[in-house]
Symmetry: C2
Subunit: 489 residues, 2 copies
């Protein structure tokens, strides 16, 4: 099924208010008849709010995007994402430098932590936080057995981290969300079928942390703490001076996506213990490049502040599914990408690109000028000439949906970093398969991994062994690489 | 023995020509009577050139620094240093960014290597080269068993690298030297007692590679290739564009130092199979901070282009030996630091410091102004007022020996990066314990890890788990940290 493109059309005008409980927020516009109405099985027996979802084929425009009330516990927002590393300072340093997210805090042996070295990056907005952690030497850890209490991330396991990095390289270990009460969230989850990973631990200053399994070796971490706390990250972390550190404008996580071999069971498991509602879903081979395919579902908390995307491969396509490729190279389920928002995507991109050859994240070279001639016809009514020129300069690709939505994309060179932007008032979520025009017009499309955003911009970081792993074959990157060939050099 | 400082005095005027075979190139000037004349045992039976060395106590000035002719095979120079990593791109990126050594080449899955991801940094001079390598995913590697031949570093072991990074974090796996004939070097070494690590392999373009064990899990790698080769690093590596990448001025490796628990046996082993002569040695508690101690020997090839320092701890000092601390935290023998040269140390430092808070290498804050008032008295005849001001601005510490040699030093904040410079015409090697004046004058001395250089400057990078490991306790850093406390923020 290599030519059957469907369009996943996103609402061009998303109301800011939430009106009612509608679970399906995307309209699937099939170009062919084989639209899939796929029920999402659920393990839950008691929750009557969460239905077995089916999807409207078309015509839900104007329904708005109401709030829901299905969460099993109060979820406020993303808190941080933790990478387990062999060298936390180098990983943190490169992310900080390459993506422009300042170093903010640390917990290392010199601050009293003899179990793990952890470095925190935080955007100026305060709402985008990365944590990079690595174990101290085995000998040191053993000698400091009595000092195990010095760990500031109580769930940290030195041996676990060693196995993890041996299996996955540098990858996301924990997706942390702030909840009203981490102990309550943990027990509500476990009682609803979640596999426990770390029982609630009380830290100082009223912080509580707990973890349940999410997929593969990735955990969902619950963190709770009092409002107005003076603790900037977690108790025991020391702030580091970052004055003068540039911030490229990344503001928050838009969504975080995991790749799994079995979407239905994982979605059912996660929705089951969280109560998260289905923000959107999309069927496989319709989305993407037309050569490789996936199925996906986006789960969200009541307030849609935490969006968790789950992806599974679709087989039988011309090109191997990008999700299957991820699963193969990652060695199993894992966080496949982090989507981050920016209020000034072109500005953010400009900074990131300026660091590409200095050790940051390398982006593909711009397409040839004719690409941008076509762009003027396609999106000249939305993008100014100046913006188009900036897109050309930065090598940004532009795509468009039938509702006027515009997506800007940039891909890394042989790596899993992609950027996308939608104008305001289009929905967040994932993904949009809106490349028909380019294919029809003969313009090169690099896949539909557009990153719509509730604000005006979002940046998608394809992660999990992103930088030295076989990233050229991951996900859309494989298509990117092949399409990029004529532009090379 | 915390107050017994001896001075290792280096020759202030080292002639550029080499006149005769003198093995001891440093003059040990004892302040106390307990000077150690320590024979270096050797396993070699046949080589009559390499003696059991003893050291002159004083008075060898004017002897010059002649060449030797003891090498068992032709050794040209350092070729590269390879770090084994879990995330090669992040480590390479941070080194490139933080130290200003441009990304130069890579061998990754998109260039045809499905075994390991490798990134090369190379200074503009072409003679300082880092290699960072990480294994691809286990699944991927297994699936690509037939593609094992795609490895461009034929000795790379994916499982070995996983064990290595699990044991050591990011650390030096291979110290590579260019030799006239790698196969000949290998067999000469093995016949002289070297433990083989990787039998000679012929690559394309006339390249040959082989490895023998050095100490711990570190190997000495032999690389040979034709003069004038067009291969910029190793066959199969693709150059990457680095135009615009800044080079902070690091030019070459001055020396590379390993920490071992048993200096005599390791020095004997290495000298035995290489034929390297003893460039200098220094006895333990005399060198350093007066609170912790070490013994050391510097081995060199005939031309003194490859300097290999070996260090062992001395016990019974007030403070735990910095070498023992390294061994404890590293988990055994390993490369403890890389010393690199710069022709403009202050300029190099300025660039490095400018990246400190951006994800690069963080340096200690400058000492208080009174430190530099004292400096004017001590070194005003050698350093210009402008240089002293620049030292103050950059937080550079200055020390001096009795022959007019000046050493500039900077230490990282809780990490193993130290910088030192000697003016021209002082000898290279390691280390110089020339801090008496500062101690006498009450000025804070941060240890004697000066980095003398044959050119005008050298930078010493303390490595092996340097950045997120318990670096605050490594080596001189522990002393640095304690002395730095009064200066802290």
């Amino acid at each position: 099924m290599t030519t059957g493109h469907a369009q996943l059309v996103v609402h061009a005008n998303r109301p800011s208010s939430k009106l009612c409980t509608i679970r399906t927020r995307c309209t699937l516009r099939p170009r062919h008849a084989n639209t899939v109405h796929r029920p999402i099985p659920t393990l839950r027996k008691t929750n009557t709010v969460y239905p077995t979802a089916t999807f409207a084929v078309a015509g839900s425009e104007g329904d708005g995007f109401p709030s829901t009330d299905t969460d099993r516990f109060d979820v406020l927002d993303f808190h941080h994402v933790e990478f387990w590393c062999a060298d936390a300072a180098s990983a943190a340093g490169r992310f900080s430098f390459g993506l422009g997210v300042p170093l903010a805090a640390q917990s290392v042996i010199t601050t009293g932590n003899s179990v793990h070295a952890s470095h925190v990056l935080r955007s100026r907005t305060g709402s985008l936080t990365f944590l990079f952690s690595a174990p101290y030497a085995r000998h040191c850890t053993a000698a400091a057995a009595a000092a195990a209490a010095t760990a500031t991330v109580p769930s940290f396991s030195a041996d676990g981290a060693r196995r993890f990095t041996s299996d996955y390289g540098v990858a996301v270990r924990a997706l942390a969300v702030r909840v009203a009460d981490a102990a309550e969230a943990f027990w509500a989850s476990v009682n609803a079928g979640a596999r426990p990973a770390f029982a609630p631990a009380e830290l100082s200053h009223g912080f509580v942390m707990a973890e349940v399994e999410l997929f593969g070796d990735t955990v969902l971490r619950f963190v709770s703490y009092p409002d107005g706390t003076k603790v900037s990250f977690l108790p025991g972390f020391e702030d580091v001076a970052s004055s003068g550190s540039p911030d490229f404008g990344l503001t928050r996580f838009d969504h975080i996506a995991g790749a799994v071999p079995d979407l239905a069971s994982v979605a059912s498991y996660v929705a089951g213990f969280t109560g998260f509602h289905e923000f959107s879903d999309f069927t496989g081979h319709k989305v993407g490049t037309g050569e490789s395919a996936l199925n996906g579902v986006v789960l969200a908390n009541n307030e849609d502040t935490v969006l968790l995307t789950l992806l599974e491969p679709v087989h039988g396509t011309k090109r191997r599914s990008q999700v299957q490729t991820f699963l193969d190279h990652h060695g199993g389920p894992g966080v496949q990408h982090l989507a981050m928002a920016s209020d000034d995507l072109l500005g953010t991109l400009r900074e990131i690109r300026a660091r590409s050859s200095l050790g940051g994240f390398e982006l593909l070279p711009p397409p040839p000028p004719r690409y941008y001639d076509g762009l003027r016809q396609l999106a000249g009514d939305v993008l100014s000439e100046e913006q188009i020129k900036e897109c050309q300069e930065l090598g940004v690709l532009v795509d468009r949906d039938d509702h006027g939505g515009v997506v800007l994309q940039v891909f890394t060179k042989a790596a899993n970093l992609a950027f996308g932007v939608y104008p305001k008032d289009t929905v967040r979520g994932e993904p949009a398969g809106i490349q028909e025009r380019w294919i029809r017009d003969g313009a090169p499309s690099r896949g539909a991994w557009a990153q719509p955003s509730g604000s005006c911009a979002a940046i998608k970081l394809w992660c999990s062994r992103p930088w030295e792993r076989p990233t050229g074959l991951y996900d859309v990157s494989s298509v990117v690489a092949s399409l990029a060939l004529p532009w090379a050099g």
